[in-house]
Symmetry: none
Subunit: 238 residues, 2 copies
DNA sequence: GGGAGTTCTCAGGAAACTCCCAGCTTCAGT
DNA sequence: ACTGAAGCTGGGAGTTTCCTGAGAACTCCC
């Protein structure tokens, strides 16, 4: 079954991605499908309203800047229809718009562009969990003596609290999502860094170094280098 | 086997190989046909798009450098058609980190030239497994007390973890794919080493030696020499 | 607009890996 | 048993990959 739409699967959660930038829409769609969401796209406000009606998404990812109606207008009309679909807004970083501020009051949320894929996924999980649709029980990851809590953003190793910066946290979280698996450099950069990151891929090594320093003061090495390939989270010994 | 089309067999998975270098396309085609894929070739972007339409491949191997459209353009147009065919990109080693970024999000992947045939086959298996088309039961090989896991890249012998370098791993993996079969030196070199390897064929002996040293510290000899021919993976008679 | 905290760049050096070499051992056939 | 061919393995050169410290650039907050 190579072509056409994937089969409608009622067990999947539906996400409507609304962005007029086709690249961003595609990146999000691919990542979400990979996470087993059903995804549809809309490129402007009118399509978004129609898509919300037809596709009945559980959540909408909505760019604030759209060619016709802006994101807030779309949200407003949906609210008038009593659609009650949670929305994750995408905004430009410098849009210090006060409008954005009030979003989290209504249970909606926003992410600034450029974002990393893992950041979007984390917000979506948070929102879905809040409205009771989370399919995974997972605001909490653990591996060996490592614990990571998404709600409090706390990381502990054998009970000891470890302070991590944002990037360190995202990196560790991504590794803990795939324990023992070897993750390639490309995979890690794609998921943990912002989608338009164009810099030196060696940042990754720097952050691995930071993480190791913090983690290894409380126990043996857990982030292992697989030379020529990437990194893997493992406990030492057979 | 350039002449005549193989008979259409609906049970086979279809691969479209897109490369303007006829040698590379042929090497890949032969290896894939041997693995029981149905294969067609395209030498440029336009042919690739046409081939995708007519042949309806389950996966496309796509060189980034093509005489007309580049590989990314081909991928983009396929995406616009909602073709949703996974793609394995081939890129030059130094092109790696720019545009290739982002590919692993959608489940696509890339391999740098020059590659080894086994590397390509491994990536294809991974991709097909992810989209639910893998006919093989997976990521795990075992032979006697040897276990090899492709996800974690871990190799154990009777439970004991064995650390292998990349080349050692690829060599052992190839042997384990054909247990008890005598594999000729040429076969092994062709599959495990990069296709443009021009060096001394005696590297193979060196690596067999490395592998034996690591494996035999945990049990009896499993890699047996077949003098004048090659090597075979066997358990000693009991 | 200064300061603290964070992210990223860069470069030197360390470590790991691949491959080649050369001398030695093993084997097959006489 | 002898001999040439084939295979084995320790040593090491050359290369690639990775680690890490130092500092520049950026952001956020007061």
């Amino acid at each position: 079954m190579p072509a056409g739409q994937p089969p409608p699967d009622e067990s999947q959660l539906r996400v409507l991605v609304v962005d007029d930038d086709q690249n961003i829409a595609d990146v999000l769609s691919m990542a979400l499908r990979y996470e087993d969401f059903a995804v549809e796209q809309a490129a402007n406000g009118q399509q978004a309203l129609k898509g919300a009606e037809d596709f009945r998404p559980h959540i909408i990812i909505l760019d604030v800047m759209l060619p016709d109606l802006d994101g807030f207008e779309v949200a407003k009309r949906l609210a008038e229809r009593r659609a009650e679909i949670p929305i994750l807004f995408l905004t430009a970083r410098d849009t210090t718009d006060d409008k954005v501020r009030g979003l989290t009051l209504g249970g909606d949320d926003y992410v600034t562009k450029p974002f990393s894929v893992e950041e979007i996924l984390a917000r979506i999980r948070t929102i879905l969990r809040r409205v009771g649709l989370a399919q995974d029980n997972g605001n909490h990851l653990s591996f060996a003596d490592l614990e990571l809590d998404d709600d409090t953003r706390e990381v502990t190793r054998s009970g000891q609290l470890i302070e991590l910066t944002d990037t360190e946290y995202r990196l560790l979280r991504y590794l803990m999502l795939h324990p023992r698996h070897v993750l390639t450099r490309a995979q890690i950069l794609d998921h943990v860094w912002e989608y338009d990151f164009g810099g030196d891929a060696r940042v990754l090594e720097t952050y691995v170094s930071y993480l190791r320093k913090k983690l290894e003061s409380h126990g043996p090495r857990v982030i292992h280098t697989v030379r020529g390939v990437g990194y893997a989270l493992r406990m030492p010994r057979s």
